[in-house]
Symmetry: C3
């Protein structure tokens, strides 16, 4: 832990403009809802003014042009960059204590480890693996035969790569992710499910991020591909033979069945599910829990299960909420018409009316 | 395996009242549907009488006041406590064969390991980690720099804690769980998703249980918090900056997006999904597969997607099931009115009628 | 990598009939959509003819009777078997470089390891574990006390088995799966959730396959059972006390709550959820994302949430899509009737009409 400092010193640290008492003592940094007396907090949009007024925080980092605040403040152009610097000042991030290849790692003699690559204790690197310069392989990572890890890639603890998996430069694979497992494909032979060929691989592009516990299955004959710049959250399942495009954002617990393809900049919110062999067009957005059974065109927004264009789905949900009213109206109409038919067919009653 | 025993001995073991032949030989314990001749079984509610009559079990543990049974029996106040004792008699639970710190573990010199703590082979404990007395760190657990593990906590095999994670006393983290991974937050810079600051931590309270494979992301600037006594099942995803209250029950495959907060005693059934920045009030219950898009008040029960108060949702589902009838009624009305208008506007037809 | 070869040689390799120029040089194998010049591809159904015509592939493996193709070809009875052989020719699958028990594994002295079993580095095998002949235990697998692993079973890296878990012969457990964790069952005592007994085990039959990251909880008193021949995909959760029948197919991200039973040949598509204590009959099929709240009979197909027989559910969805029309019709009827009543009750207007 770092000792306390003054607001003036923090303003100097981030190159911001000090407004108010620079000698106020700051001992920590926290977001508004968590901040306490002694903390500096941040506010990036004017609607936070009220929350800020009620906050016990002792100072605040605000964007240029922010309304007046009760607290003394540091004014900057980029609130988040400045605040991140301040947080790191109070709570320095840990850096790896490891360099080179740990003697407690298991590295096959045919593996090639680039200069400046780091291999932590208890990592397993099998035959013919290539790890390029600057890559970091954390403790307990299992890299099976023939995999290639690009420069400056990071594999967090206990990641597992099946044979032949390729990871691009600067990609980050989070703890416990499993890449290259067998696809889920069987045919029935004499009453038993027999596994189809699982001879393909997994190829992860550059600057990809893959979340903790996520699984990506190898292709049948080819590679399952995740293209450059795509970010995948935790617990996602990508089936065999998929080709996910560039710069997709795939949120937690999404399941993509086999042989799907996506364009670039596709967004899938949490718990979305895709049937197999679908194509999702460039920039399409799939809302949380969408159950997608057909191709989705470019720039479309689909929600619901079965997935439907957003506007239509909201309308349908609106109509469903009107069902009690509709039934009531319908009932009245029926009664009314019944009464009328009765009176029409009954002269006595008609006279009496 | 333990040799057979008599029912009288088992009655003595659990301090229960023997009814029937105490000399019957018992060789195992199983629940009713799985029990075989020679087994003792259990019945905690009267409606099990019939199933019990048809069971081949040789004896039964019942609660005081249970109706007459075909089998000789042991009568107790707490059926489950007594039966657990009997099961453990026939199939003793394994206790850890490990004590102290394994020489095959990797422990940084700056880590502090409390007395009576156990560290199994191939565990990795990085710099400045503190493990308090009585904690058990199983094989393959990865505790990264600066984490703190409370007294008597248990980390099952292959758990991964990212730097700075805090685990409270007596908490249990199941195999393969990953705590403290980066939150899923990016901003678009020149067409590429750039990761936002992920400088926070994860803080797990006391007496918390976290399921196998569950992931809890670190906060942006602060901690993601799981409060005392909360129990989380397998495959759950808790996003960055969430604050889960005390004594929540969160079932398998639930996904909670970033910055959500919950009160105390909240229950989320399996596969529930929450949008980000929601608040779920004390004692609220979210039914299985609920897709929650708005705050949920205290004591409310919400189901469906979009999540809706239980009563309203069941009503809507009921109305939807009535749609075929409604369409039929509507069609008839239209036909009827059409006929009437036709006859009204057609004097010929009217005369003919 | 293997050097190029001729189509004639490949035809000889797979015992197929060569049609066209056998001297064409082949340097790789890929499916149609991924194939490039120099590749051999495959086509198993006639509707691929057009795609094949447009493909740059230099040759193709086709089934007997396939329509004429632009490319020279190899004709076989079993396209997939032949193509798998060709893929393996160009990209030989890695075989384990490990034999016997690694000196870097931790094996308790009371464990029994059968002949021809393989234990990789950094695997942990605790007391009284039995591993039968031919089983392969990959790196980082944690086998806790008293487990039994059948002959020729394969446990991929970082699998965790809690004490007492049993794996049948030839079963395959993929990376990071966790078997035998505690079930999610608590009772409330003085405001705190107290874990119920978790004294049972997990028993996996023969020829079972379990996906990466999948979790199967131990039974309360008995075993949670997965029967022979059943295949389970990645990220699946099977709750405590379940008995899954033979030859089931359970796709990714399915959640089965506690004490469910299934017949044989049941299929559950992705992201299906089952409430606890349900029975799913033989050969029943549960569609993707189905939310099952009641027993499902033999041979039934259920979809939707709440799950409904397929035909009824599609009809309901169809009706819901008709709601805008229904509302329009209903509105018109109401207006019409209102007009008529008005004119009926207003002699002036009636005259004017």
């Amino acid at each position: 832990m770092v000792s306390t400092t003054t607001l003036a010193d923090l303003a100097a640290l981030v190159g911001g403009q000090l407004e108010g008492d620079g000698q106020v003592t700051i001992s920590g940094a926290a977001s508004i809802s968590r901040s306490q007396s002694g903390d500096i907090t941040l506010a990036d949009v004017p609607r936070l003014t009220k929350q800020l007024d009620e906050s016990p925080a002792s100072a605040v980092v605000v964007v240029t042009g922010f309304p007046p605040t009760a607290q003394p403040r540091i004014v900057v152009e980029n609130v988040h960059a400045a605040f991140a610097q301040i947080v790191s000042h109070f709570r320095p991030q840990y850096t790896s204590a490891c360099s080179g290849c740990s003697e407690s790692a298991h590295i096959a003699s045919s593996a090639q480890i680039g200069p400046d690559a780091v291999v932590h204790p208890f990592a397993t690197i099998e035959q013919e693996v290539v790890i390029e310069s600057g890559a970091e392989i954390h403790s307990g990572v299992r890299i099976m035969a023939g995999c290639r890890i690009g420069a400056d890639a990071i594999l967090f603890p206990n990641v597992v790569l099946y044979p032949g998996t390729i990871i691009g430069a600067r990609s980050v694979i989070h703890a416990g992710a499993v890449l290259g497992g067998y696809g889920f494909g069987y045919h029935l032979v004499d009453g038993a499910h027999v596994r189809k060929a699982q001879l393909g691989t997994v190829e992860i592009g550059c600057d990809v991020e893959i979340g903790a516990g996520t699984t990506i299955d190898r292709g049948t004959y080819d590679a399952t591909i995740i293209d450059d710049g795509t970010k995948i959250d935790n617990h996602v399942q990508i089936g065999h033979n998929c080709h996910i495009g560039k710069h997709n954002l795939i949120c937690s617990q999404v399941g993509v069945a086999g042989s799907c393809t996506t364009g670039d900049y596709v967004v899938m919110a949490g718990q979305v599910g895709l049937c197999d062999h679908l194509h999702i067009g460039d920039r399409a957005v799939l809302g949380a829990k969408a159950g997608v059974m057909n191709d989705v065109p470019e720039d479309a927004v689909f929600i619901g299960a079965p997935a439907t264009p957003e506007r239509d789905q909201w309308r349908m949900w609106g109509h469903v909420r009107q069902l009690p009213n509709m039934r009531r109206q319908l009932k009245k109409l029926c009664q009314k018409l019944d009464r009328e038919s009765e009176s029409a067919s009954d002269p006595e009653q008609q006279d009496a009316a």
